[in-house]
């Protein structure tokens, strides 16, 4: 059941990068949301290094050493490293644990020698298959929880995940421009799954005295956004992807309702709404994560970030050093610019530049501009009767905002897609149970493997 009833911030204008209502402290002198922004660097191992624990630990050791060396070379005051599990690190919990331990040893060295502030986020891979197994009672889930334990024991400061509940429905719905399926898959099933899994994650975090971080709708809203792609892509309408994002905001909230403290996951583009509602610090990624994917809101997403990330960069050589060092440097300077603005008392000016760079570039940036994101947050907390109600309200608010601002130009096709989705949203039942019954009937027929019982329905 939803818990948040009001906004953490009194207005959108109050939200700014570097500061969160509820800062988080962990690691080696590392404070997130406490007044300054830090980079979060996400290294990705080269293909082939996943073949054994030894080769993979070695790969992480090299990647992270390069990152810490670059911090010390150019003066970055602190950094978080995300160990975003490749499948093998979660499947073999000891691998992830040993990698966390090794990275912690490295960070302690640099902290002792130079005073470099640092922290580790371990993001466990959710490799459950919702259309093939019981998502709440499977070997995969059991192993994932073991991986959380091993990582926490090893040295992770922050435990995060990208849960996939409801993905069997949204995979079907997104490529069919079916907003009902999106609300059901992300807003209802995704939320229910998060409620179940996050209770367990928070318990593990408490047991080890580490911080439960956050969850992102990577597997669903990001799929819609990446498929929407650039201006010339015609895989998914951009306006439809933006609605999907609004629904994701209602869903990702569940982690914080179950006890997660942030910082949120970098790839949760919906995190600005999360910050507005919960006050937890957020990690974001934008222009400097072009190494991982292209987006149409490269500057705008920085507007309220507390950690600034590259999403993921595979380890390779460039002229200027290895990719992990190169992207640590770029992130480091991005962050230095933000922190300089803070010290100058001009953070709002810089924020305005970031926002207006991309607010009207595309639908996604438009709804995630702090003012619009805040409005979506308000619609969510005002409709907290059910996961369904707030998901639907989020989407309707997003659509309303998009249709209401003439500066957001749309092609005829994009507008039609949006209006058609809005009509469907309006026609949906008020009552959650009615909606669920309706959806179960439809999608049990259309989506192979969908099993309502797996979500307690």
């Amino acid at each position: 059941m939803p818990k948040f009833e009001k906004m953490a911030y009194d207005s959108a204008e109050e939200m700014i990068f570097g500061t969160a209502k509820s800062p988080v402290q962990y690691g080696r002198d590392f404070v997130v949301g406490g007044g300054y922004v830090y980079p979060e660097l996400v290294p990705h191992p080269r293909p082939g290094t996943e073949k054994s624990q030894k080769t993979l630990v070695k790969e992480y050791e090299k990647m992270v050493t390069d990152v810490l060396d670059r911090c010390v070379a150019i003066g970055i005051p602190g950094i978080q490293v995300e160990l975003e599990h490749v499948y093998q690190m979660t499947k073999n919990p000891a691998w992830g644990g040993e990698i966390a331990a090794q990275v912690k040893r490295l960070m302690e060295n640099y902290h002792r020698k130079y005073g470099l502030k640092s922290a580790i986020r371990a993001t466990i891979a959710d490799y459950r298959k919702p259309d093939e197994e019981k998502v709440w009672d499977s070997l995969a889930l059991e192993t994932m929880l073991e991986a959380f334990e091993a990582s926490a024991a090893g040295g992770a400061d922050n435990l995060s995940i990208e849960t996939v509940g409801g993905k069997e429905i949204t995979d079907y719905a997104i490529v069919r421009q079916d907003i009902r399926g999106v609300v059901f898959g992300i807003g209802v099933l995704g939320s229910l799954d998060m409620e179940y899994t996050w209770k367990k994650i928070v318990k593990i975090a408490d047991k080890y005295g580490v911080t439960p971080g956050g969850d992102t709708n990577c597997a669903q809203a990001n799929v819609a956004m990446f498929m929407a792609g650039g201006y010339q892509d015609r895989s998914v309408p951009h306006s439809f992807a933006a609605l999907t994002r609004a629904v994701a905001a209602a869903r990702s909230l569940v982690a914080y309702e179950q006890g997660a403290k942030g910082p949120t996951k970098d790839c949760g583009y919906e995190d600005v709404v999360t910050k507005a509602i919960t006050g937890v610090p957020i990690a974001m990624e934008g222009k400097t994560s072009a190494c991982a994917h292209s987006d149409l809101l490269g500057n705008l997403v920085m507007a309220c970030c507390d950690l600034w990330s590259n999403e993921a960069v595979e380890y390779h050589d460039m002229f200027g050093g290895t990719t992990t060092a190169v992207f640590a440097e770029i992130l480091g300077y991005d962050v230095a610019l933000m922190n300089t603005a803070i010290e100058l008392g001009k953070a709002r000016d810089l924020q305005q530049m970031m926002v207006l760079s991309d607010k009207y570039r595309d639908h996604h940036g438009f709804i995630l501009a702090p003012d619009n994101a805040y409005e979506i947050g308000k619609a969510i907390v005002a409709n907290n009767g059910s996961y369904y109600a707030r998901s639907r309200a989020a989407a309707m608010k997003a659509g309303e905002l998009m249709l209401g601002d003439p500066l957001l130009r749309m092609s005829a096709f994009e507008k039609e897609a949006l209006q058609s989705s809005m009509a469907q949203l309006e026609a949906m039942p008020e009552n959650e149970q009615d909606f669920i019954d309706n959806c179960c009937e439809i999608y049990k027929k259309q989506v192979r493997g969908f099993e309502p019982k797996n979500y307690g329905l």
Binding site: H44, P45, R46, P47, G48, T49, E50, V86, Y87, Q88, K91, Y127, R128, K129, E132, V164, D171, I174, V175, R176, Q177, A219, V223, M227, Y231, Q232, R234, S235, V236, P237, F240, E314, Q352, V355, L356, S357, D358, K359, Y360, R361, D371, D405, L407, R409, S411, A412, F413, A417
Partner: protein
């Protein structure tokens, strides 16, 4: 309020999506008679619900193969054209495919046999990868274009892929992977297939998979986009070797 601070965004970004808008010609295809026209329109509009009744009705008057060729496939061809010209987005194509396949299924029931397919393609998502949306799109596009798809699903071990190729003798096999640390299975599959003398095009793509990697092993053809799959399958049916496909689509 903020927005009013800027009067002209032209030097900040340019909306290239609006530059080329409206250059398509819209729906142009027409069918031979009113019944076929309505069915064709259902495909073009992606009306999965309505199409069943219309096909049922038409089957009382017309030969199933006429309905398939002159309404269902014709509609799908028009949809492909609309996609190519930029009028349609992928969802319209998928919905059309859903509608067409539903219609064909009815016709096949009437005929008492399946219509002949252009060829068989085996598809899979790499072991360790549970993200199979890319594969599902490939499946839908191949089926929409008349190919039989042997869908091995996601998280598929190397052995399963190799055995399926031996069993079904496809013209082409595809693999998708989201992560580079799972795509390494592709090279193993390639080696096993080569060793077994099964030198068919092995089209690999998805997520982090790169042309550099895929063209580094035998049989590998890099698939940049799911929409290429039907064209590649057509080339393979027409006898195109993996070398020829690689030459055409990569490099």
């Amino acid at each position: 309020m903020e927005a009013l601070a800027i009067s002209n965004y032209d030097n900040i970004f340019k909306r290239y999506d609006l530059v080329s808008e409206g250059s398509g010609q819209g729906i142009m295809a027409t069918a031979k008679d009113a019944d076929l026209q309505k069915i064709m329109e259902c495909v073009i509009e992606g009306e999965t619900d309505d199409i069943l009744g219309l096909v049922d009705e038409a089957l009382t008057k017309l030969d199933p193969m006429v309905i398939i060729n002159d309404a269902l496939i014709k509609g799908m061809n028009e949809v492909s054209r609309l996609w190519d010209e930029g009028t349609y987005y992928l969802p319209q194509v998928i919905l059309a495919s859903d509608a067409m396949l539903a219609g064909i299924e009815l016709c096949e029931k009437k005929m008492g046999k399946s219509m002949e397919k252009k060829g068989i393609v085996v598809t899979h998502t790499a072991e360790g990868d549970i993200h199979d949306l890319g594969q599902k799109i490939v499946n839908a596009l191949l089926r929409a274009n008349g190919y039989e798809v042997i869908d091995l699903g996601k998280d598929v071990p190397v052995d399963t892929v190799v055995n399926a190729v031996k069993q079904y003798k496809p013209v082409m096999v595809t693999g998708t992977a989201l992560m580079t640390t799972t795509m390494t299975a592709f090279e193993k599959i390639s080696n096993r297939l080569s060793a077994a003398g099964l030198e068919i095009p092995f089209v690999c793509g998805g997520g982090a998979v790169s042309e550099e990697y895929v063209t580094g092993y035998k049989l590998g053809v890099f698939g940049k986009d799911a929409s290429q799959a039907p064209g590649m399958a057509a080339d393979a049916v027409n006898g195109g070797t993996w070398q020829e496909l690689r030459e055409k689509y990569n490099g």
